[in-house]
């Protein structure tokens, strides 16, 4: 019987034949920890009185940095001190990093065939480059710092076949929202999604799709690597791509016609609650462009294309948050900031802040936000009576101009 990508990577790293349902102990290539999940991990780790395996460890403060208050400042300090104490070289200080998942990709930690875990649920993002990557808890992070390995239940794999080509303005965000709208928020629970598409989706679209797969409950979300991934990585890093066997066994197979998809919005309170953007017509108070889901340079360019020559609606705040320092610099050099500032948008440095209702864009009772982020749960971005509508960068930019959620074609046909 052939094997899926997930089964092959877990077999390789555990030294066992990993069959779905088995529990294996597998060696991880990298462990990522952020400022919020880091503190409990460091506290657990210190009880063991051993030295951490620092070559595998990547520390990225991003949730509550720059520090929003004194407790968050202490938390970020705990990470900085841990990095200094043990000489962790892969620590990315504010100003030199950004949102953890974007930084992991930019700095070359993510590559085909690797097994990567992170104390953040959106670690599944890295599957876009052919890694098996999944989110874990803080105690698990402490265990890996000490042992370099962790237990995994080998997941069943699901095959997603994307057919045709997407229309103008339909991007990775619309694709994953359509899929979650179809299979539901537990449609891939405990499973590994594997994506196949004759149309070579741009890498940023794949990253957005893998990023939000956890919103369908997935453990991992993997695109078999191709030239787009190899070209992106150049010869900066060494890796060994892993592909599924032609006769691999999948628990389910789904087909989606990309050409049938339209710009899509997920209404609160779940990412599965999808409607076409053109039918949404909700008046908004805030529009948010950023996050690990959609804060890449391609996302900013798309928004700039729509905002150019337009003004943000007088009743709307448009908040733009590039996902990393590198993207921030690039957007500035490309002249995107001029377009954003001219339109009346607010630009911040990279942070997760507002996506999780932490800081830098928290919503008041009754306020509505259209956002390129990944979660629209009750109260996610602020008060329990505020609302989050998930959409693509194009839809968010167009909606910011109109003051209500619209299809991007309504602003730029």
């Amino acid at each position: 019987m052939g094997r899926t990508i997930a089964e092959k990577i877990l077999s390789d790293r555990s030294g066992m034949m990993a069959v779905p349902g088995d529990i294996v102990e597998a060696a991880v290539d990298y462990l990522m920890v952020n400022d919020v999940t880091g503190l409990p991990a460091f506290e657990e780790f210190e009880k063991l009185k051993v030295k951490p395996l620092i070559d595998k460890l990547v520390l990225i403060p991003d949730h509550y940095v720059p520090n929003k208050d004194i407790p968050s400042a202490k938390q970020a300090l705990a990470m900085r001190e841990f990095a200094r104490k043990y000489g962790v070289k892969n620590y990315f200080e504010v100003g030199r990093g950004g949102i953890c998942h974007q930084v992991m990709i930019e700095k070359g930690f993510v590559a085909p065939g690797r097994l990567i875990v992170g104390a953040d649920s959106h670690t599944c993002t890295y599957g876009a480059l052919g890694s098996f990557a999944t989110g874990i808890g803080s105690t698990e992070a402490a265990a890996i710092m000490a042992m370099g390995k962790l237990w995994f239940r080998v997941p069943e794999s699901q095959k997603f076949i994307l057919e045709g080509e997407p229309k103008r303005y339909v991007c990775g965000k619309d694709i994953i929202l359509n899929i979650i709208g179809d299979i539901g928020v537990d449609g891939s629970l405990y499973k590994s999604m594997e994506f196949y598409s004759a149309f070579k989706l741009p890498l940023p679209d794949r990253i957005t799709i893998s990023n939000m797969s956890v919103e369908a409950g997935a453990k991992a979300s993997i695109f078999p690597p191709d030239e787009k991934v190899f070209d992106y990585l150049e010869d900066r890093v060494k890796y060994k791509p892993v592909f599924a066997d032609p006769d691999a066994d999948y628990s389910d197979t789904f087909h989606y016609a990309l050409s049938d998809m339209v710009p899509t919005v997920a209404k609160p309170p779940l990412p599965s609650n999808t409607v076409p953007a053109s039918e949404c017509n909700i008046e908004i108070d805030q529009a948010y462009l950023g996050s690990c889901t959609n804060g890449r340079i391609e996302d900013l360019r798309m928004a700039a294309e729509i905002l150019k020559g337009n003004k943000v609606h007088e009743d709307v705040r448009l908040i733009i948050v590039p996902a990393s320092q590198r993207i921030y610099a690039r957007a500035m050099r490309e002249g995107l900031f001029e377009i954003f500032l001219e339109s009346g948008a607010f630009i911040s440095g990279p942070t997760c802040g507002a996506c999780l209702g932490g800081h830098m864009g928290v919503l008041a009772p009754g306020e509505k936000c259209v956002s390129t982020t990944n979660r629209n749960f009750v109260g996610r971005m602020g008060d329990a009576k505020s609302e989050v509508y998930l959409a693509s960068p194009a839809t968010v930019a167009a909606s910011a101009v109109k003051g209500r959620i619209v299809d991007p074609k309504e602003v730029k046909p």
Binding site: S121, D186, L189, G217
Partner: protein, 165 residues
């Protein structure tokens, strides 16, 4: 981990997410006692005040959906909740629960808010003392059970490290 847990039921719907269990603004500590002050704060503000030690949460499908924050399990443990019973669990919440010896019990049972429940882990059964019915729950995998009996993931790590010294 207690072999028999007894407490009254708090009913929750499907897809209870970790933002509901502990809002992100409080993720500045890992201390269960501190986190427990804000458990379900936005959605059931009375919960933290009225929960009694040993009480049991009965959720629907996909309990613990969303973020990887282990703080969610810690907040419930800090509040004195003895276990969560749900039709299904989100993956990371399930792992965190096993690793911290907070039994995630999969069962589809009839229960009303406030019913007195008794969970017997060894026998794999939940008794609803209010309606007199017994409900078998999905047995834990041998791995999960041994992890919880050992005292959780950190005890396991200590064992491994002491063997390799």
């Amino acid at each position: 981990m207690k072999e028999v847990m007894r407490g009254k039921a708090w009913k929750f719907p499907d897809n209870v997410d970790t933002d509901q269990i502990i809002p992100a603004v409080y993720l500045v500590t890992g201390d269960p006692g501190e986190l427990s002050k804000h458990v379900f704060e936005k959605f059931r503000p009375e919960f933290a005040r009225k929960i009694e030690v040993g009480d049991i949460i009965v959720g629907g499908k996909n309990f613990g959906y969303g973020s990887s924050r282990e703080h969610a399990v810690r907040a419930l443990m800090g509040a004195g909740v003895s276990c969560v019973i749900a039709k299904s669990f989100a993956r990371i919440f399930y792992r965190n629960s096993i690793n911290l010896c907070f039994p995630p019990i999969e069962c589809d049972m009839d229960v009303k808010e406030g019913d007195l429940l008794e969970v017997e882990l060894a026998k794999g059964v939940i008794r609803n003392l209010a309606n007199g019915r017994n409900y078998p729950f999905t047995p834990f995998s041998p791995f999960a059970l041994s992890m919880m009996k050992k005292g959780g993931l950190m005890r396991y790590v200590e064992e491994v490290l002491s063997c390799t010294k």
